[in-house]
Symmetry: D2
Subunit: 372 residues, 4 copies
């Protein structure tokens, strides 16, 4: 349904033209330094603005309404909400009974017997990916660990001169004291693997892998009242050996589960992916070079037997062309059962792939945060 | 964690003195007529006001921010939020490092290393039961079915003169048409068992089962700066045979799981409960009287083998006395490790049991809504 | 359904008179020393034999068919099975259509449209608690930690003379080497809290708490062709502070969820339980005495706000009298709808409470194993 | 972990060279006619034998040990087991410390600190897909519905001459009676969508889509002591509109989650998949033609917004070349940390893709069985 995960649980709600959308994150460790500003960079990357993206402008200011106290997560659920501002529902009036081809309108009307909110795609809108990006920001923080060398924890040391693990109560006391003197400094390094970093890039648009042509391809599609797809590559480095669970909770299973939740994703591959199917074993195998798991090649994309092997995770995601196009299309009139021409107004991206990389990163970050 | 259920999933968030608290309900069927007013009766029953309840006054107005369109649920997650208004965090300033006896303060500080929100108990506050009551209102609607004889569905009939089951698309069309003409009338009866009704009553206060004495017992405790406990009995009628799953998802398992999530609940029993342990089998067995499952007695409280048997579900819940009392108590100073006297200010209930019945009903309603 | 838990998942299968019953345990850490003999003590405690227990004799030999290698758990699912030997299905022939009062026969026939296996109660049989006890043995091992002073891990030490945490690969190497030289010795201490110990006792039979009278009460019931109930108290010591999750996964929620899965359990209470409802706050509160969480009293039964507070967990469980009695009872003939006299043959316990303590312990152990 | 699904839950256990492997299926409706023979066809398709498949011969006889009574499922968990017969663990002796490149050996040793069962890949072995195929057989039955025109249910009809829905007890009675007279005939049509049929085919081997060349490509690889990959296409027809849940439980999410659990799967795409990323929206959109959801093209592969649209589901899955090859490869000695040459003995498939189609079908069937 609208939740994912057992250890780091993401629950989303909201509709494109409703009052607000939001995400509840459960399983976030207490003591993670977090502020609304931390979301800015990733939200900006998702925001529209470039040629080829929608002209709908949302402030997209995250509102942390629960789970945060004195600038740190509390261990209780973190709730982050976004107001829906610049909506023009009128654009969608005629769409309620004229499902847009290759959108969820038709299946939503069926499945929910016509009670679904049709405005802007309702709950099926790409706007909901905003909540995934917000969840991704928190997941990335969990994966990166907190590193603040200026504020090291200062717990008593043992006779041997080596720092003893502080007790739970010592940690508590230190936090209480610290929060009175110098709020905002994280007390301790978040447990978990430090240093997982996730990046992504567009590797092709409209079939071309020459990035110099991307802008031209998109503008040509726009001029024709059309749209165009693309492929995103996402990489995670600093991944420890051993993330992922046999049998069903492989890293690939969890990541693909989340990726196929993103509207417009139609393909996912890891490492050589579909290309591996054309190779021989001697070409596709990755010889192990050292006890740290380093391999001579990374054809597996960092995942073997569903489990990370210490090499970078590499995956590619196919994004279909935006189904909303300006060209007139035919569709069914749900009320009459007749086929009628449809002109989609609204404001849409000519190439969703431009905004998708940060959403793809979020999906991978959420999947990995399950496993640490 | 902070979610419960696979088919009807309840996710709660918020803190007593945070900006707002909320609940996300997933798995609510589309087409349920719902308005903020529907919550009034149950929220009123939980609200403070009577002698023995806290003087904190909240408007407790439910704000449905997602999942509702044209007065009906959409099939997408329903998000209901409540603003926190009348908070006096100053009352709690000294409590951050002086955990109140038999409250969650001490364990929360430990578990979350001092990062928990201590104001008013934070996420552990009884205020969170507001979200359970809201979830219970929706669950009760799901259990009751919609009955609006004035607006019967009018689908085509077959030649034989008997109404054919409408197709998904016919339902969709009828909804679309209806919503333009006559919004607010439910189109169809919600699927599921109709007629489950849940009620509850206080069966004892401070050890007395004489309801005429309840008020006196509570006032005596208040005069002494003290508090008092009670027992709630909750009954569900109109329950079909067969709800509940072997092995682990018995009705008793799901209901008790939810009930023990309610702060102050320390005991749960079904049917004869603890009294059954003192009986012989010939006294405790319930002879079946008819094919509808009716039994001569209902010692089982309507549940056999973890599954409903068509008789009323009967359960009792022990509510401990409010741990916040006006009398001075000793407690630990978390920062110094010393034992110090503690005076709890704030505003508290002398007898939480007075407000608990509607929360207990909500827990049972949520459990049953999992199973239909 | 028939699984419980996200981190330590217990899945049961089988019927009373089928070929075998079994349990799959997922989330068991690798490296736990385990042998069939480890189950003997707890299985013996559940086995029949004493006066008042059934004369059905099963060898109850656990068969570990997966997840074990060289005497240690592997990290893969542990599957433990038990053959069903001494079954007399003929005793149950007439019961298929004559549901025994206060047994699951009637609801099972309804729920599964008559396709349920009625022999000996089928999947609803108390025999299934054998799988819970087996799961409990493993859970108790996880809770206790492995302590084998004769075989300390011998990993390199740092310059400062303090043992460094071995890397995953160092652990792996040591295991491989050890297993060649000296199989059967555990290599390392299982992570997790060490020293949780769970015990239980019968606190009342047939309403009497005088253990000297228990045997007489049971024999009197047997002589009358009747049965009798009892109450079990279960205690866990060595519990660390902080187990349990807000909101829904309180220790009480998880434990009661499991306890109410056990056939014949009709009531569960923690600490003072129902007695707390008769007390004032000043009587029921537990003053904290020291930074380790020790309280002057333990009225809360070691759980506050749903989370362990470092004091022993104490709970009591009501077991109803065995519904199978020798006295003739009336019941429904499912085929005719008539009420007819029923004589239950088979072999049954006059007092299930005698065999229940180890099952109650298992339920608590499984619940706690979720939380470490 | 080793379970998947909430409504139709699949739990697997076992190791390649252990005593037996098995699968527990929960959520199977009562009354499904099932026999060991029903598994034969699919198990045969997975079995080795053709050129290019392993010479290990297993009888692969399914042993249904629980959940079946009188030839029908009972509603209790269905447990199906397979003995491991023809194992040659000696072949794997040297592999315990010499992880095979691109196998799970290295990550398993790390993750489980050397306690994993290394024989034949242990729990990571492709042999475990046998349990998926068995689960798939049951899932396919659930999806197909039972159609036995010779044994229609014969419940009383109403005055209007139209068959009334039988009550639960009527169904129960009819089952009981039927099972005495004429066992083996299903009583009623399984609820759920009837007629989903799942098929699959190999669309390329070693990069070639010309099926006439497949055998030659495989034999050339074998001659070179090498292996080769392939691509499987899987199609489901008869799919009703509306399967799949927003947001996270899209059909694509659930199917890919399961598919990436299958060893050797490295890519999954639906409809046009990666090819869609090279198209324009006007090329990739599927115009709706009729109220039943039929579209002019099926570029979406039957899934829009994560939900089925009534057209066939079409997906393709990339299978990497078998990592076990006869050529000498270098690998790490886990004990010494040195790189050493490795010769893999054992018996392996030169082209796993030959045996994969029925496993891919099973994954899709299990995913869809979640959603009905």
């Amino acid at each position: 349904m609208n939740s994912f995960g057992n250890k780091f649980r993401v629950t989303v709600f909201g509709e494109s033209h409703g009052e607000r959308i939001g995400v509840v994150l459960d399983g976030v460790p207490a003591g993670l330094a977090l502020a609304a500003d931390d979301f800015a960079a990733d939200l900006d990357r998702r925001r529209s603005g470039a040629r080829g993206t929608t002209s709908r402008h949302e402030s997209d200011a995250p509102h942390i309404v629960a789970g945060l106290y004195n600038g740190h997560t509390t261990g209780a659920p973190l709730a982050i909400e976004f107001d829906n501002g610049d909506t023009r529902s009128a654009d969608y009036a005629s769409l309620a009974d004229h499902p847009r081809p290759s959108h969820a309108d038709f299946v939503a009307a069926h499945k929910f017997h016509g009670f679904n909110d049709p405005r802007g795609g309702g709950h099926f809108s790409g706007r909901l990916t905003l909540t995934l990006v917000a969840a991704g920001v928190v997941a990335k923080k969990m994966l990166a660990g907190i590193t603040d060398p200026s504020a090291p924890p200062s717990f008593p040391r043992t006779d041997e001169g080596v720092r003893a693990e502080p007790s739970s109560l010592e940690l508590c006391r230190a936090t209480r004291k610290k929060s009175e003197e110098q709020r905002g400094n994280p007390l301790y390094k978040t447990p978990g693997p430090s240093g997982i970093e996730i990046t992504s890039r567009i590797v092709s648009i409209g079939g071309s892998s020459d990035s110099a042509q991307f802008q031209g391809i998109i503008e040509a599609a726009m001029s024709a009242g059309d749209s165009v797809g693309g492929v995103i590559e996402c990489t995670a480095t600093g991944v420890p050996i051993g993330l992922g669970e046999p049998f069903f909770d492989s890293v690939e299973s969890l990541a693909s589960h989340l990726l196929f939740s993103i509207p417009a994703v139609k393909g996912v591959e890891f490492g050589n992916g579909f290309a591996a199917a054309a190779l021989r074993g001697s070409q596709n195998n990755d010889p192990i070079l050292a006890p740290d798991g380093r391999t001579a090649t990374n054809n597996a994309g960092g995942i073997v037997g569903g489990i990370t092997n210490g090499n970078p995770i590499v995956m590619r995601v196919a994004i279909k062309p935006t189904p909303s196009i300006s060209q007139t299309q035919n569709t069914l009139n749900l009320l009459t059962g007749e086929i009628e021409p449809l002109e989609i107004k609204g404001r849409h991206d000519a190439c969703i792939a431009l905004r998708a990389p940060v959403v793809v990163e979020a999906a991978l970050a959420i999947a990995l945060a399950q496993l640490i």
